[in-house]
């Protein structure tokens, strides 16, 4: 789960990480109300959960309140990577002497939370990682001990020279780690972390993602969720025990198992087709799940054929087939469907499915080819 920059800033503040003052506004009127009359340099930032908003014109400076209102007018409602800007952050701009990067991630290789820091702040860290990986300092954190102050200081010492700044930075690292752990975060970045000319260390921009599997114990984080339209669909699917991701193609797929679902998409592509989605219905033979899955799948108007790919394991194919038949009886659609059923009790399952009159095949390859053909014939 992702949150907006302004929400990350609020969490930073709650944990004592210093951030410049700022207000979130949903309209130009709100900017007029909330921003003080004082002339000072402010930054108006689109609140969208995608990268590259600066390049897209979603971040603008303003020296007066009037100018801030003007910039807000420009940014509110603009589209950034297909997302409409509905909120902006109007924050005090600070003078910057130097920019740094600090972030925490769950590292697969060390199987630990890893702190990354760099004196190359303000740019995308992935770029730094590619061009000059030696400029990124990494430290794997022992989960039993947490980020100890002396370790945080060791990192800070590589970025700052002055004892006071070292202390400020180390303190921010320790607090960011506490925030990361307390909220079951999967990414917490301060980029840039800046040193101001008056020697304050501040967090200017922040990004936080959270572990979906841990949301059950993160009531406060869930409450922050502001999903866009596509994400909303994915969240609804999750609530029904399904895993759904919309893609740009026209062949819908419904598969049991995530790996098999990916392999199914790949195969459609391999044979020249274009998958419309990733959709994993999991291991149950419950007809309702198939109905829910089909409804979600068909809500995408690009879909002009559907491939159902089931491998029966512990759940036997005949059970799955009965579930499918029950579900297909409820679903009324013009979109052609091909069903592939394989694995345990496949023969019995195929017999049952035949009663639906739908095309039934035995292998994934056949199913993919059929789905592509059906799709082409519908164009």
């Amino acid at each position: 789960m992702k949150i907006h920059e302004y929400q990350a800033r609020n969490l930073f503040r709650k944990y004592g990480i210093p951030v410049p003052e700022g207000v979130v506004c949903h309209s130009v009127d709100e900017v007029k109300q909330k921003v003080s009359d004082e002339d000072k340099l402010r930054v108006v930032k689109a609140q969208v959960q995608v990268g590259g908003r600066g390049k897209a014109g979603g971040v603008k400076l303003a020296t007066t309140k009037a100018e801030a209102v003007e910039k807000a007018k420009q940014i509110l409602g603009m589209e950034i990577k297909g997302i409409t800007v509905e909120k902006i952050l109007v924050a005090d701009a600070v003078d910057i002497e130097k920019e740094f990067y600090v972030g925490l991630i769950n590292d697969r290789n060390t199987k630990s939370v890893t702190l990354m820091a760099s004196a190359e702040g303000g740019v995308e860290i992935e770029e730094v990682a590619k061009v000059s990986p030696e400029k990124i300092i990494k430290m794997a954190i022992d989960p039993a001990m947490g980020l100890m102050a002396w370790q945080a200081r060791k990192i800070a010492l590589q970025l700052f020279n002055d004892p006071k700044q070292i202390r400020q930075a180390a303190d921010i690292f320790v607090k960011l780690y506490a925030l990361y752990i307390d909220t079951d975060s999967s990414l917490a970045e301060i980029n840039p972390l800046v040193l101001t000319p008056d020697k304050q260390v501040l967090a200017i921009d922040g990004k936080m993602n959270f572990d979906d599997n841990a949301l059950f114990r993160q009531k406060e984080i869930i409450a922050m969720r502001e999903a866009d339209e596509n994400e909303q669909k994915e969240i609804e699917a999750n609530a029904k025990g399904l895993s759904y991701i919309k893609l740009d193609g026209n062949i819908g797929c419904m598969v049991n198992g995530a790996g098999l679902a990916m392999a199914t998409m790949d195969m459609i592509k391999l044979y020249g087709g274009d998958p419309a989605n990733f959709l994993d219905i999991g291991g149950s033979s419950n007809p309702q799940k198939v109905v829910d899955a089909m409804n979600i799948l068909l809500s995408d108007k690009n879909v002009n054929s559907v491939m159902i790919n089931i491998f029966g394991g512990i759940t036997r194919c005949d059970d799955v087939a009965r579930g499918l038949v029950a579900a297909l009886d409820i679903i009324k659609t013009e979109v052609p469907i091909v069903i592939r059923l394989s694995g345990t009790n496949a023969k019995e399952g195929l017999e049952i499915i035949k009663t639906t009159g739908l095309p039934v095949v035995e292998t994934m390859s056949e199913a993919a080819k059929t789905a592509i053909e059906l799709s082409i014939s519908r164009k």
Binding site: L247, M262, G313
Partner: protein, 290 residues
Amino acid sequence: MSILINKDTKVIVQGITGRDGAFHTSKMKAYGTNIVGGISPGKGGQQVDGIPVFNTVAEAVKATGANASVIFVPAPFAGDAIMEASYAGVDLVICITEHVPVQDMIKVTPVLKKNGTKLVGANCPGLITPDECLIGILPGMIFKKGNVGLISRSGTLTYEVVNMLTENNLGQTTCVGIGGDSVSGLYFIDLLEMYENDPETEAVVVIGEIGGDAEEQAARFIKDKMTKPVVAFIAGQSAPPGKRMGHAGAIISSGAGTAEEKIKAFKAAGVPVAKEPREIPGLVKEKLGL
């Protein structure tokens, strides 16, 4: 021979009285797995399907000499269940539970190391040494004893591939579903090393997917350390970046973890990569000169 488990493996089930735990315990038992006990706090002394139930893992280990434990408890309690098994001295722990928080797995990691515990999973279908021992939720009937090892990050895709191997008369020594999470127990390299040292395994099939760089590491390991042939398949070639494809670990982040990179790494290590699953048996046969 085989790796990790065989007919002498004594298995206990954590969460034996739960719906999934009870169902798969009977399946495992039916397959022939030596299930010696189950754990359900407060139900110690009872029996499930003729299997004695204990209050704690430590009690079960003491009474039965169990050396493997399979976990079916709900996600919020799975990390703790792994620790209980590890502190009780169980050698091999298999965590079937999906949706375990990453922080819980991270917390478990140094405990496993300290106690010398091997973990498979979480979010995995388990593992099987055909005709000897099945631990987890794998459909036993599609497996066949033989000389091919298999490691996979996926569930049903594994069954799909195993089914093809078996149909092509390529039986298996041990098949291990390592799970789809980003932070897991045993991984490709650990298992490749075991297969390399297992006299009976003649070839290994690796089923990877997008996310992380474990496949790249495996490719380097194969190139540097392995004498036995390996065949690979990578799922997720058509997956968009930044999206979690069902598995918590299957996500392409900032251009890293793509299928292309993984395929390239395997090919550079001399590992043939199947374009689609049905090519796998042929590639294995080719490598084995069959």
